[in-house]
């Protein structure tokens, strides 16, 4: 293919420059965003009354002087679902095929109801980015519904083909975003044990975000093979058996960052694996984990770095491989170093927390719909600052 054709394809596939600039402005973390939703008042009441349902309602969305009309909004979340302050998914193409906003097909409005500080998710994702791991862009926003303040939210980039294009970009002229993307759906405690040969067992666990209409075999047969390899390969052949499905050193790095962040509801979560996406690359059986929903990070500054690893079949076996164990600890050291990097007289992590706190302080205190008091907010935000100061040292001290 000629260079001219490659350039043309790249131009067609990439969002416009205006969209790209708008995207950067929307996720500008140095400023509080303002988003306005115009909905029918009955729809808004209905959405709150039926917040456990995924029913869509039409709305207009306004941001920074731009209005995108006829978007679809619905209640979202698992533990964060709320009838008082609903978490929202905003689909720009729900009622108009192909409609996008700033090059995005959808965004998430995280209601921050599981985080009294409102800071955890945003700061955690910044650390994943710094560590070179794919993570959604986020920014804080004041949300207004029909001109009434509906609370402080985080606007979160959806994990979809737009996201994949941004983080994986082009490979040899091909935009790497047409593989199989899945959202993990927590239904029960599961620790990456082998669900068995029946592919139907994988359906409730992995919800396809792309290629939703593909056959069960196309969607789930690679998962069956992957979890069989994880659980049934011999110790000697573990790395060789699993590597076609997973970049194990990269996976260990991902877990290291999550452990540094003391995320207790993630891949090594207390109630089984949770809060991640999996992307299976085009024409490949190999998957990559993508961070999602870090509202429960920053559990405690002294959170053990090996918490939960023995319960998890994949992590337990990986830690028995010296190279992978070393990769995990190396990842923890890197995360600690990145977080502790001096910036303006304090560590990067503390500086990031303080910056975000200065942005959310007033809108958080004005948010009458949040499920906690202003005192609780202040206490947890203070604890995050303390976490930033002591966590790197504690993590390094725990590494054998």
């Amino acid at each position: 293919m000629s260079i001219r054709w490659c350039l043309l394809l790249a131009l067609l596939a990439a969002p416009s420059l205006a969209d790209a600039q708008g995207f950067e402005d929307l996720f500008n973390t140095a400023a509080l965003q303002r988003l306005d939703l115009l909905v029918n008042s009955r729809d808004w009441e209905k959405l709150k009354a039926n917040f456990q349902e995924n029913d869509y309602y039409p709305a207009d969305l306004r941001w920074n002087g731009q209005t995108v009309r006829n978007v679809g909004i619905r209640s979202r979340g698992l533990g964060s679902r709320s009838g008082t302050k609903p978490g929202l998914k905003v689909d720009f193409n729900r009622y108009a095929t192909g409609q996008t906003f700033l090059g995005l097909a959808s965004i998430v409005l995280d209601n921050l109801t599981q985080d009294p500080s409102g800071l955890r998710e945003r700061v955690a994702m910044r650390l994943y980015e710094r560590m070179g791991l794919p993570a959604p862009r986020e920014a804080h926003t004041a949300l207004y519904v029909n001109n009434e303040y509906a609370g402080l939210y985080a606007v979160v980039e959806s994990i979809n083909k737009d996201f994949l294009r941004r983080v994986f970009g082009g490979v040899a002229g091909n935009i790497e975003n047409d593989g199989h993307l899945f959202e993990y759906k927590w239904t029960t405690e599961w620790f990456f044990t082998y669900p068995g040969t029946n592919l139907d067992a994988y359906k409730p666990l992995f919800d396809p975000v792309t290629h939703e209409n593909a056959s069960t075999a196309a969607l789930y047969a690679p998962f069956e093979a992957m979890f069989r390899a994880i659980n049934e390969s011999s110790d000697a052949s573990f790395v060789e058996a699993v590597s076609p499905y997973l970049d194990l050193p990269l996976f260990m790095k991902h877990l290291a960052v999550q452990s540094f962040l003391a995320q207790w509801d993630g891949i090594l979560g207390y109630a089984g694996v949770n809060n991640f996406y999996l992307y299976r690359f085009e024409n490949s059986s190999r998957v990559q984990f993508i961070a999602w929903d870090e509202d429960n990070a920053f559990r405690a500054a002294d959170y053990p770095i090996l918490e939960g690893y023995e319960r998890n079949a994949l992590m337990r076996r990986a830690m028995n491989v010296p190279e992978l164990r070393a990769a995990y600890f190396a990842g923890l050291r890197s995360a600690a170093a990145s977080a502790a990097e001096p910036v303006g007289g304090v560590s990067w992590l503390e500086q990031e927390i303080q910056l975000q706190r200065s942005i959310v302080d007033a809108p958080m205190q004005a948010d009458a719909l949040k499920p906690y008091t202003n005192e609780q907010y202040a206490a947890v935000a203070d604890a995050l600052v303390e976490f930033a100061r002591v966590r790197p040292g504690i993590v390094l001290s725990q590494i054998p």
Binding site: L38, N40, S41, P58, A59, G72, R94, Y95
Partner: protein
Amino acid sequence: MHQLFRLFAITLLFVIGMYSPLSAQARVDWDPRPSFRVGDELRLDLRLKIQGDIRGFSPHQPIDDEGFHLHRRRAGIEGTLFERVTFQIERELRKRGPWRDVYANVEVVEAFEVRAGKFKMPFGLEQTTSTTDLDFVSRTNGSDALTPAREVGVMAHGRLGSRLEYETGLFRNDGENARLTEPAFLLPDEELTERSRSVAARLVATPWGRGGGSRPRIGVALTSSTSPDGLNSLRGRSTYDTVFAPRVYVRGTRLRTGLEGEWNPGALGFRGEFIRVTQERLGQGLGDVDLSDYIGRAWYVSAAWVITGEEKAGGVRPQRSLFQNGFGAIEVASRFEAMGFRSGSTDGPAFTNPRADHVAPNEVRVWTAGVNWYPNRWVRLQGNAVRETFEDPNRTPVPGDSTFWSGVLRMQVVI
């Protein structure tokens, strides 16, 4: 509905009980159907309607009823009392099958009769014709979606001279075809104020010619009702029930207007109908603004020819039945129809959003050609070829395809 049926059945049994079957005047007739009679004072007819279809599609449509499908199994009783009261009870013979017609009609004078119970509202030429008497396997999409069909109510009707008939009634809701799918959403301190009662009226004239049912007839009809707040508009469905124009939010008046015409000269039959429905959308926009009306529109024209020469008016009755020195009657028919929905406003881009002011329109056009064979007066075999073309290829039985062919073979037995 069950209470209405119970009351009706008790009354009927009481009246029948007044007559001993041993009475000298009581008798049972079998032609054309099982019938219990007591002089001229009571007549009870047993009715049975069975329709079975074999269907095929191209391209394949994702529906459950491909292949053989028992379309209708209905049984009922109809009769007359004291020559002035007529009544009918009919039910679908399947588990939890709905009651169809359950009504009584009193003829005070020819110009004034009163009907009460559950029956078809006086709107739509095709809708008020029994499916067993249609020239085609199915009604038009417009008749199925835009007309009200059956409802519980009371209606006055009669014949004014030899050229004018009227029907006008008050009904509990707006008909089976307009059943509310979403209960009104009420805020904690709010009470439901709208009632969905409807009124309907139809006027049919036979201004030309003399004689019976072969004269040209033209009619106008309207219904008016109030839709409560909710996702309760009428919707567009294809011949095989794919929703190609989903419901939108409505509130306010729903007004149907219809124009119909029929002419059956000899062995020929011509029919045509135009239906328009407007639905108000008060306070249904984003920010609670009023939206433009939502408009449904349908029309069709059809022609039929009984090539074996029998009269078309009043239903085809074969002159020579099969196995009785004959072959029965054969009829060919063709119909063209269109039905669609759109919003009153066409400003700005169109959206499928159910609260859009400019709703993305969609329309289906259907051509049907058929052959009907009547081996005798009780049995009919029908074959229809149907071609459907949708305006929006993304809202069709198979998104991406806009034209669909189907074929239906039906066997019908009516006693």
